[in-house]
Symmetry: C2
């Protein structure tokens, strides 16, 4: 069993989700030990929601699950990289494929991502 270093960062480690086909970085979220074990066990990305303070199966509201294809760990064992199949084509709760849909250029911020869904239609008043 692989032991990650959850202690260094107060129990939560950053996890990068990357599209397994295109290598596009989709999002960054956090896992505690329970979320990590759940992800290994189920093959679906499960994070720790810092805003809701609870375990968060990505896609539980939207249906946009992340099917884990490959798992990598970094040299310090305190960051995880998941290569995933993003169900529904969009990882971001704002409806974009990637959470990194804005680019900084000459001090300005510009939307460059493609919107896949309308968050209001998907979540109503809830937020994933």
């Amino acid at each position: 069993m692989v032991e990650l270093d959850f202690e260094k960062t107060n129990g939560l480690i950053p996890v990068i989700a990357q599209d397994y086909k295109t290598n596009e970085v989709l999002m960054l979220a956090y896992m505690n030990k329970e979320a990590w074990e759940k992800t290994l066990e189920t093959g679906k990305a499960t994070y720790w929601s810092r805003s809701r303070n609870k375990l968060w199966l990505k896609g539980e509201t939207s249906g946009n699950f992340q099917i884990v294809k490959e798992i990598f760990v970094d040299c310090d064992l305190d960051t995880v990289l998941l290569k995933v199949e993003q169900i529904g084509e969009a990882a971001c709760h704002e409806g974009y494929k990637s959470c990194f849909f804005r680019k900084i250029s000459e001090g300005d911020i510009k939307i460059i991502g493609e919107k896949i869904f309308d968050p209001k239609e998907k979540y109503g008043d809830k937020n994933e």
Copy 2:
């Protein structure tokens, strides 16, 4: 000017460095406001070293600078994605191209990355 949310995470935000040509994820490090501004100003990735507790120009010891090609921010403005040109072909202080040189498979951990340099030759007793 783009204002990132440094408050949420005690002054440090995670930054993903990705190879601008291949989209390989090279590493994850952290920036405080000063490191962020330095990166914007110089065009070279500058992080905050949590172990040494000081500003860290990536490559200052190894010569393996990261030339910033594109900058993206996420939906919450608390994570940065840098597309970089990795000088020296290796981002990891252990000599691998990517810090994510180990893959988890069936509970085991396996080195899959290619070693580009020998850390002892590069750093001597120092560590970047």
